[in-house]
């Protein structure tokens, strides 16, 4: 028989886990209802150039590209994840031009997509430091480029 204190702690812990899972479900957007054709056109017109500019002549094929997406909703979900959620070694992609344009496109063409709210305070502080494009970030962006290319090849005309 567990002590009351331990039971209390465990209950609080599991409650929090449960709430977080609920929040996760809510925050994971389903990209099934997006207008894929309009998103594809926006990618070709504005997002592609911004991605290329970021890479600055470095080809995506120089990196190991192993992130696959099956269909357009799957591709957009992975694009959203890599673009807006920081990873170890690359935390600043969300402020780049291609990310801002991606955010705008998805907000416009995906009903219910809330977009990413960039923390302006943090952005101002970080602007003091000159942004340096790391190889880790380029690797992330090369995944993004391949996912966008895959999306454009399979989205219906």
């Amino acid at each position: 028989i567990l002590p009351d204190a331990l039971l209390f702690v465990l209950s609080v812990f599991f409650r929090k886990i449960f709430i977080l899972q609920l929040v996760g479900l809510v925050l994971t957007y389903n990209f099934t209802d997006c207008d894929f054709e309009k998103i594809r056109k926006k990618y070709q017109e504005v997002i592609y150039q911004a991605l290329n500019k970021y890479m600055n002549g470095v080809k995506s094929t120089e990196f190991n590209n192993y992130i696959y997406c099956e269909d357009p909703p799957d591709c957009l979900a992975k694009i959203d994840l890599i673009t807006f959620y920081p990873t170890h070694g690359c935390t600043t992609l969300a402020k780049e031009i291609f990310a801002i344009r991606t955010n705008a496109t998805l907000t416009l063409q995906c009903p219910g997509y809330s977009g990413t709210q960039i923390n302006n305070t943090q952005a101002k502080k970080k602007r003091k430091k000159r942004q340096v494009t790391t190889n880790k970030c380029r690797k992330q962006v090369s995944h993004l480029m391949e996912l966008w290319r895959r999306f454009s090849r399979i989205s219906k005309q």
């Binding site: 990618y43 070709q44 592609y48 080809k59 995506s60 094929t61 190991n64 590209n65 192993y66 696959y68 480029m145 391949e146 290319r149 895959r150 454009s152 090849r153 399979i154 005309q157």
Partner: protein, 312 residues
């Protein structure tokens, strides 16, 4: 190279890996498989041919038995080479032509049609996202060459792809396929005039360089009709009578001004050959004639043997 999403060819330089026989292993259906179809160069493995099933990521490794020397994952679409367009169709409407062919079963491609007339040195180009491309401003009376190929959109495939090979060149005139006759098609009065003028010039040049042999019937009337070509008999019959037949007007333009040329074929003739013999009053001309019949023509005396002839 990804050939039309049908076959993928991966190659490496054996010398880069100390000339050893490398083994190629790749993923397929989430399982690792060794290469079944190696490309061999100078007794060493230099590549692998494998079947492509769809637009997918190929993860592969190169090893020398125990060690993995190289490992990579790539989208095979990044190295696509589409197949060449076939069976081009043409639809003419006034000054425009629409070229069509079968679209490939994957998207984001550019179908490039090139055309030129027989007088153009450079190809004109027009592209479309489907194999249905219309070109304006053509003259359907002219003969045109057409060819087509397929390229990929860089935003969808990257910059490392290859354009397809060019299709066969087809010739079109008045909406019909032409063969070799296309090269000689006449398509305007100025062209025909130039061709005719060229032909006339060539004809005159030919006659000047290779004049026709005059018909002896005209020069020696009665030679064939009365004496069956027997010149000796004809000479006896018509000695001291010389008829110079008028030559053809065209030949007169090109006939060089030469005097009589006498040629002696037999070795015993010691008379020199050539025009100089008739003009030059050298000791050669004073040698007494040797044998044969004597012929007088136009104030000149000739000794004829069986093997000699006169050219007037």
């Amino acid at each position: 190279i990804n050939f039309n999403f049908e076959t993928v060819r991966v190659t490496w330089s054996p010398s880069q890996y100390s000339g050893t026989n490398l083994t190629f292993v790749y993923n397929s259906d989430e399982a690792s498989r060794p290469c079944c179809n190696y490309i061999v160069h100078e007794s060493h493995t230099a590549g692998c041919l494998l079947e492509a099933r769809k637009d997918e990521i190929l993860c592969f490794s190169l090893g020398n038995g125990t060690d993995i020397l190289f490992r990579k994952c790539e989208w095979i679409s990044a190295y696509l080479k589409p197949s060449s367009p076939e069976d081009l169709s043409f639809r003419w409407h006034e000054d425009a032509v629409t070229v069509t062919c079968s679209d490939l079963p994957y998207k984001r491609l550019l179908y490039e049609i090139q055309y030129k007339s027989v007088f153009d040195t450079e190809w004109q180009s027009k592209e479309g996202e489907t194999c249905n491309v219309t070109m304006q401003g053509l003259d359907s009376e002219k003969c045109y060459f057409f060819r087509a190929r397929v390229k990929t959109l860089e935003s969808s495939y990257g910059s490392d792809t290859y354009p397809s090979d060019w299709s066969k060149v087809t010739h079109q005139q008045r909406g019909e396929l032409r063969g070799e006759a296309c090269y000689t098609a006449v398509h305007g009065p100025s062209f025909s005039l130039k061709v005719r003028a060229l032909l006339v010039s060539l004809s005159r040049l030919h006659k000047c360089l290779m004049p026709s042999v005059p018909d002896p019937k005209l020069t020696f009337p009665g030679l064939f009709e009365l004496h069956r070509g027997n010149f000796q008999e004809w000479i006896k019959d018509t000695q001291n009578v010389s008829h110079v037949a008028k030559t053809e007007a065209t030949e007169q333009e090109c006939v060089p001004e030469e005097t009589l040329v006498v040629q002696l074929q037999k070795a015993e003739a010691e008379m020199p050959i050539g025009e100089e013999a008739s003009r030059d009053a050298s000791p050669v001309a004073c040698q007494p004639p040797q044998g044969g019949e004597v012929v007088s023509l136009g104030g000149f005396t000739f000794v004829m043997t069986d093997n000699s002839y006169m050219l007037l």
